[in-house]
Subunit: 303 residues, 2 copies
């Protein structure tokens, strides 16, 4: 199944032309999930041809505007578009209060169920699960309560290996095998063992989303071995003090975390508007952790 | 002095690529005013090179998201940019509650004074005044309390007519005359009368902003003779019933109001996303009131 991340916004709070505040779409098979929802996200969904109808859940890391101010408009648009499918909303305490105030003032009544999971931003715990994936909160350290999220796909079945399949199997027999069953022989006993014709069980893919946080070395243990880590890198390391003051990270710190965690790839983002060119941030991170890329609007990474 | 309107957004609630929700900038001499603030307005300000630092007041017509969801982000950006100048906010009841909830949840404390004028949306009354202009509320009829705004520049002095000025006046004497004073003759009595060398007093220019409303014929009396009327035209007249149900207007109704009010020009906007091409809306309005134009992102009209 597809397990793919698409970047809708790479910027931090101050608006810059051509960059947008944090929002990402995670695709897992037939389902899609929105991670943070900065102002304008519904236009980014249009630009990237992501149908909001397919969104099953929205994860919000914290209540700073550049991560949540697009949510009210998006929910309104879902309502106007006639959504009836329930939507799961996962986020920090206070998100319900914000939404309630919005809905009351605009006398909005959604025609779909909006189910809210209040995240304990200090805990590492399962906060969401469906047939495609399971999500854990990641305790981040920011100026206000803030959670990252770790997504792990549900266990997949091993793929059948063509070269090991006996000739002459019917489609129905192949389907049985593909679902992990053994085929019985007509004279009794086992004819074809699933274990004999299947490859190894694929390791579930994992994506860790760390939106806004100061450098927290302990995070490495929680995202160890992830296929992809997104970590904010608001500043260059020359502004390490400014980063600490504002509870943000530098590109070097993001790379150090990726290295310590032994992840496969790192994506950095949430760039300060002070950086017109982003290359220095990339080079700084790559000097520590080579498989690093810049988050950029429209970038898709298939895991 | 400049008296100019710039359109930042022409769309209604459902997002369309290339169109944006309602926001306009009115320039009156050195001051600028924002009228409504749909999601993404701060990027529209960047695109149109309007510096938010120059905004003196923000007028909000009502609390539907496509008119207000850009406000929280814009205020945050003003704060991050170090604004200390007070900002006047004029809007319907509930706007203060929305802002308070936002600020509390994101622990935002603005470094500038945000002064709020609560508008009685059922009244036609002065809601704002400064050295450049005076603004009245216009009672609109929408699904929730909604006010339009009528802006009138402050009285201007008559311009001096070069051909009537005696020769040999000093700069200081000219300045006296330009400020409306008479010049005394050296031997006593009046030497040059301001009234004799000045043209007629210009009529104050007026702009009427009617954001979201069903057809309200009584509005004509309140905007009579305005230099420019912006009136929503969400639908074509063939959807007149749908317009009435949703408390919106048709292009034909907007034009009828403009004609009844005897305004100089009409601008229609707030187009439904169902209309990919806007020409039919324009033609329908022009059939009733010829000096009509379409609101379009980036359009500026100097009055």
């Amino acid at each position: 199944m597809d397990f793919e991340l698409t970047i809708l916004g790479s910027a931090s709070a101050t608006p810059v032309l051509g960059r947008h505040p944090t929002a990402q779409v995670l695709t897992a098979g037939p389902a899609q999930y929105l991670l943070d929802c900065g102002e304008g996200t519904q236009w980014r969904l249009l630009e990237n041809r992501v149908r909001h109808q397919r969104l099953r859940a929205i994860f919000i890391s914290h209540l700073h505007g550049d991560h949540v101010f697009g949510l009210f408009g998006l929910l309104g648009t879902m309502h106007l578009a006639g959504r009836t499918e329930p939507l799961q909303l996962i986020g920090p305490p206070g998100l319900d209060e914000l939404l309630t105030a919005q809905f009351r003032c605009s006398t909005t009544r959604l025609d779909f169920d909006l189910n809210y999971t209040r995240v304990d931003t200090a805990a590492h715990a399962v906060v969401y699960e469906d047939a495609q994936l399971r999500a854990w909160s990641l305790p981040l350290e920011h100026r206000i309560p803030c959670a990252g999220y770790l997504f792990e796909e549900q266990p997949r079945r091993a793929n059948l290996l063509k070269e090991r399949l006996p000739a002459g199997l019917t489609p129905s027999q192949l389907a049985q095998l593909a679902q992990g069953n053994d085929l019985l022989a007509e004279e009794g006993g086992v004819g074809v063992r699933h274990a004999d014709v299947a490859g190894p069980v694929p390791t579930p893919r994992r994506y860790a989303f760390c939106s806004d946080t100061r450098h927290v070395p302990g995070l490495a243990a929680l995202v160890r071995g992830a296929d992809l880590l997104y970590h904010e890198a608001t500043f260059l390391d020359e502004s390490r003090e400014r980063a600490a003051q504002t509870f943000h990270s530098t590109a070097r710190q993001a790379a150090e975390l990726a290295q310590a965690a032994g992840v496969a790839r790192l994506l950095i983002g949430h760039f300060s508007s002070r950086y017109k060119a982003l290359e220095p941030l990339l080079l700084e991170a790559r000097a520590v952790f080579e498989p690093t890329d810049l988050a950029a609007e429209g970038l898709s990474i298939s895991l």
